[in-house]
């Protein structure tokens, strides 16, 4: 499972990087979404892989090492997901405004001579 997850994070990250290097603004927003998946997963796995051990403390069982997943990365990722939504929205609005104002969807607001 570690291998699958690590490879997948790598693939998501690579796709995201490829996209944010493209010149069209919509490509960049899709790239940002993919990047945020990759980064969130990456943050998440710093708590290691734990199956069927959600971080719910219980009164009956005292703390045992390895019985629960690490809650800290989870909390960090949770806020990261929500903030990610807000920044995507912001980027989307900037993208639309830029397209309306400049008449092009190039990220720099103007077409370069030798561009795709």
């Amino acid at each position: 499972m570690e291998l699958i997850l690590a490879t997948s994070i790598g693939i998501l990250f690579a796709s995201g990087i490829w996209l944010i290097l493209r010149p069209r603004s919509f490509q960049v927003i899709i790239g940002l979404l993919l990047l945020s998946y990759a980064v969130n997963l990456f943050l998440f796995i710093t708590g290691k892989i734990q199956v069927n051990r959600p971080a719910f403390a219980s009164e009956a069982v005292s703390f045992i090492e390895g019985l629960y997943a690490d809650p800290l990365p989870q909390a960090l990722v949770l806020t990261a997901i929500v903030i990610g939504f807000a920044t995507s929205a912001l980027y989307l609005v900037v993208l639309l405004g830029s397209r309306g104002l400049t008449g092009t969807d190039h990220v720099d607001g103007k077409e370069l001579e030798h561009d795709e």
Partner: protein
């Protein structure tokens, strides 16, 4: 008390700024009142000072790094405070008559008071860092005052020059002070002053002296920084009278006196300070003779007199210090009166050019008398105050060096000669035939002349009765600088015939002959260039430096930076890549065992789909946006399932909801993004350059992905290390009162972070809203899309709400409306159980938003908003206020901000209920999340309603209005 002395002018400045523009009298009265009450406060402290004690007030702030607000008032500070406030009071009275009714007076008095406050701050500071802050504040406020007439280019230029030079000095001073405080072990002035031996023995001593000297000398317009002062004369004359006689330029002097016990007494000090003083004193006096502008002459004479004081400080004997303090006071008095007199001349005769004025004594007899007496004080004529301190200076100059070394005495006499010469040059405008620019000049109003009269009277009183009038104050000030080692000195007018007196006589005779020689043989009154020294042009050097700096900054910016996004991103990614490679190579024990993984087939399949979606999205995002969006959604679902699989149900829920909301958001956005036409259709071939670029990007992307994959794998294979989780899990139930640790982390353990986060969410939402208010869609996308314009479609003739009620969407419409209460119930369920099981404010808020959005999507904006007015702004503010109040409630119970408390209630029917205060915090989160999501989505959705309001195109709202 001391704090009040500083706060009073600042508060006054604030009030003065908001007074009506034409109430000249009221504002002047107000400013005068502030200055007067400050002055009275100062005088009320005199009994303490007179006993040789000092006052101290301390407000602790950041004790760990010795950063406290400390105010102290000793003899020296008292003298300066009285001087600042006294001159300010006179200047305010004078300015009332000087300023024209057309000038925006509130601004003037506000700046003036703020400047006075900043000066008080310098004088009363007992902490070095605090002192530098007030120091910078004087630079800033003097910039505003010098540039008061900002419609005039010379005022702007002069203000900028003064600011650049003094702020540069301020920066040096700041560094110097930091070094000083570090060496002394404290920034507290009283402690620094006791650490003199440690500081002087330290290897940094020279650096400290140099940096402090640059700061002080640039402020006091000392050579080679003197050039800003004449250009600052573009300020209104009251400003010049205040800043350039008694305050701004004296700040440097004050600092040197303040640090004199710490830094002085070494050859380095004498050489640096003394040399600068002597150069300034001679250069300034010489240049003053050749000015044609009355204020320019006074500016250079100020430079010269400041040079004299700095020179005295450089000499460094205790008696020289007494002379320096005395001359500071004397110079402030006669120079302020001279500036005001020049202002009167300018005001009445229409010019300050000495070539255009003469014989003014016939039309301005009183002003002429006053100005002549004041300039006699400036020249050092006996029975006036300037004479006494100049005698003391001559006496000290004689002591420098041995009996064979007489260069200092020569310089002093030379300076005296020049001083007499420019004083003669100054009073020459009063003699000869009457010649003015403005017709019918006459004496100014009574109260405009009053400040000058008062100051000239001071010159006289101090000159005749020095011991009685100024003796005790001077004694106190000198004692506070010198400590117990106060030398015996006498302030008498007549010391008998001694060497200083001979030097004075020499200076007078020399000065008078020099002046007449100059006007006879050198065309003094016509020549435009200063002889000998005209190449010494500080202004040109300054402008050249600024030009070079600006040009090189622009060149650097051109070469090192770009406004294009892609190069910036590439460099960022490459830097990250390099960092990760460096990290990997530096990893000490990379013991990664090859997998003995239990390969889960289902998990592998899940990510096969997830990765394929990601790659396909990357491939399709350019021309097939909708497809790319759907594919990204696929990856999002895979991520969400992974969270669920790997014991993070909260994350899975959040991810799923955010996925939904993001997709709706991008769909709404796609509506405004005109289609791209595929290159294949246009029959375009990518150029070789483009191919190369793509290959490069592909290599970068793949290597970045590989790097992250490797790092992830290494992290996953590392043995478990002790993390913080144990603490959180153990304390969850006993102290947090809940078992869902992830939720507890958000609302309890790290609630301050969450408070910040919801603030960010609100800010982003408002930004999106603001950006969309001025939104101009692309022209191609303004029309209703063709899919909705097909007349064959029965929905063509229906509005969205009709489609949902009676059209083809009738059945889904019924379902979704039925679903709304159920969704609300689910929201309540997830919200309430959040403390113990997956759920909480974030998740509930997102579900709530999704429930509303589907209503919007199905029935259209107009239909929903006719029935249900959601006001997202209010949700935002309610949520933020609730969260902050919940946190602040803890203060009421004497706990730190955001401490939570759980209330255990026993209610009838419901049974045992525990009610943590974190729940109200969570409710705040809920409201902010709903507000943010809905504000963003509704703002975008409303564009459809807004943009259709173009003539000829009927919209839903229009039709609805017609029906009413």
């Amino acid at each position: 008390m001391l704090l009040l002395l500083i706060l009073l002018p600042f508060v006054g400045a604030l009030i003065a700024a908001f007074m009506p523009a034409h109430a000249r009298n009221r504002e002047a009265w107000f400013a005068a009142l502030i200055a007067l009450s400050g002055l009275l406060l100062t005088f009320s402290q005199y009994p303490v000072i007179a006993e040789g004690l000092s006052l101290r007030q301390e407000i602790r702030w950041f004790t760990a790094i010795d950063l406290n607000l400390v105010f102290r008032l000793d003899g020296l500070a008292w003298l300066f405070t009285a001087l600042i406030q006294g001159i300010c009071l006179l200047v305010v009275v004078y300015a009332r008559y000087y300023m024209s009714p057309k000038d925006p007076v509130p601004r003037f008095f506000a700046f003036l008071l703020a400047f006075m406050g900043a000066m008080q701050g310098i004088v009363l500071s007992g902490n070095l860092i605090q002192l530098v802050m007030f120091w910078e504040l004087t630079s800033l406020t003097s910039f505003l005052l010098i540039g008061y007439w900002h419609h005039r280019p010379d005022a702007r230029r002069g203000a900028r020059m003064a600011f650049t030079v003094t702020a540069f000095g301020g920066l040096c001073l700041f560094i110097g002070v930091l070094l000083l405080g570090h060496v002394a072990g404290s920034y507290d002035l009283d402690q620094v002053r006791q650490a003199s031996t440690v500081i002087q023995a330290h290897p940094w001593y020279l650096a400290i002296v140099l940096l402090v000297a640059i700061g002080a000398l640039s402020k006091s317009a000392q050579f080679p920084f003197h050039f800003w002062l004449p250009h600052a004369m573009a300020a209104p004359t009251p400003v010049s009278a205040f800043l350039h006689s008694a305050t701004m330029v004296k700040a440097g002097i004050f600092l040197l006196m303040l640090l004199w016990p710490v830094l002085a007494g070494t050859p380095e000090w004498t050489w640096i300070i003394g040399t600068a003083g002597v150069c300034t004193m001679l250069v300034g006096a010489f240049l003053a003779i050749f000015q044609h502008d009355l204020k320019g002459l006074l500016a250079y004479s100020t430079i010269s007199h400041l040079g004299l004081i700095v020179c005295l400080l450089g000499i460094g004997t205790p008696l020289a210090m007494v002379a320096a303090i005395f001359h500071t006071l004397n110079h402030a008095i006669f120079k302020a009166s001279l500036f005001m007199a020049v202002g009167i001349i300018d005001h009445e005769s229409g010019s300050r050019d000495m070539r255009a004025l003469s014989g003014l004594r016939h039309v301005l007899p009183y002003t002429a008398t006053l100005a002549i007496v004041a300039s006699a004080a400036m020249a050092g004529v006996p029975l006036l105050n300037g004479f006494l301190s100049k005698e003391m200076f001559f006496a000290e100059a004689l002591l420098v060096g041995s009996s064979s070394n007489w260069w200092m005495s020569a310089a002093a006499v030379l300076m005296g000669i020049f001083g007499v010469a420019y004083s003669l040059r100054f009073i020459q405008v009063f003699f000869g035939p009457v010649q003015t620019v403005k017709a019918n000049p006459h004496e100014p109003p009574r109260w405009m002349r009053f400040p000058v009269e008062f100051l000239v009277l001071c010159c006289f009183v101090v000159g005749v009765l020095p011991e009685l009038s100024i003796g005790p104050v001077l004694h106190g000030a000198a004692q506070s600088v010198l400590g117990q080692a106060l030398p015996a000195y006498s302030l008498a007018i007549w010391h008998g015939v001694n060497l200083p007196l001979v030097m004075s006589v020499l200076a007078f005779v020399g000065g008078i002959s020099f002046y007449f020689w100059l006007s006879r043989y050198c065309q003094l009154h016509q020549r435009d260039r200063v002889p000998l020294l005209h190449r010494l042009n500080g202004k040109a050097a300054y402008e050249t430096t600024m030009l070079i700096l600006a040009a090189s900054a622009a060149r650097l910016e051109r070469q090192l930076s770009t406004r294009r996004l892609q190069p910036q991103l590439i460099w960022m990614i490459l830097a990250g890549l390099a960092a990760s490679i460096w990290l990997l190579s530096a990893w000490p024990t990379l013991s990664v065992s090859w997998p003995n993984d239990t390969l889960s087939l289902a998990f592998a399949l899940l990510w096969l789909v997830g990765c394929s979606c990601a790659i396909a999205a990357a491939w399709q995002a350019k021309f097939h946006r909708l497809a790319a969006l759907i594919l990204v959604g696929g990856t999002g679902i895979a991520t969400s399932v992974t969270f669920l699989w790997l014991s993070a149900p909260d994350l899975a829920l959040t991810q799923l909801m955010v996925e939904t909301v993001t997709t709706v958001l991008l769909l709404l956005g796609l509506r405004w993004l005109p289609a791209r036409i595929a290159a294949k259709k246009l029959d375009l071939q990518a150029s070789a350059r483009d191919r190369l670029r793509r290959i490069r990007d592909l290599i970068i992307a793949i290597s970045a992905g590989t790097a992250l994959a490797v790092i992830s794998y290494i992290i996953l294979r590392q043995p478990d290390n002790a993390t913080l989780s144990r603490f959180y899990l153990e304390k969850a139930i006993p102290e947090g009162g809940g078992s869902n640790v992830v939720n507890l982390l958000l609302v309890d353990y790290r609630s301050l972070d969450t408070l910040g986060e919801i603030a960010v969410l609100s800010i982003v939402a408002l930004t999106v809203y603001a950006l969309l208010r001025r939104f101009r869609p692309a022209i191609e996308s303004i029309k209703i899309p063709p899919q909705q314009r097909n007349p064959l479609d029965p929905a063509y003739s229906q509005l969205p709400s009709e489609q949902a009620i009676s059209g083809y969407l009738q059945i889904p419409g019924v379902y979704l409306r039925l679903l709304l209460p159920i969704i609300l119930l689910v929201v309540a369920y997830f919200f309430l159980r959040g403390h113990n099981l997956p759920g909480g404010g974030f998740i509930a808020g997102l579900i709530f938003s999704v429930g509303l959005i589907i209503q919007y999507m199905l029935s259209g904006t107009a239909w929903v908003e006719a029935r249900f007015k959601l006001q997202p702004h209010r949700w935002l503010s309610f949520g933020l206020v609730l969260a902050a109040l919940t946190g602040a409630m803890a203060w009421y119970f004497d706990h730190p901000f955001l401490t939570t408390h759980t209330l255990h209630l026993d209610l009838p029917l419901l049974g045992k209920l525990h009610l943590p205060s974190a729940m109200f915090f969570d409710l705040g989160i809920f409201a902010v999340v709903v507000g943010t999501t809905m504000l963003i989505l509704i703002a975008i959705a409303h564009q459809a309603v807004r943009s259709h309001r173009i003539p000829g195109i009927k919209t839903e709202t229009d039709t609805a209005e017609e029906r009413h």
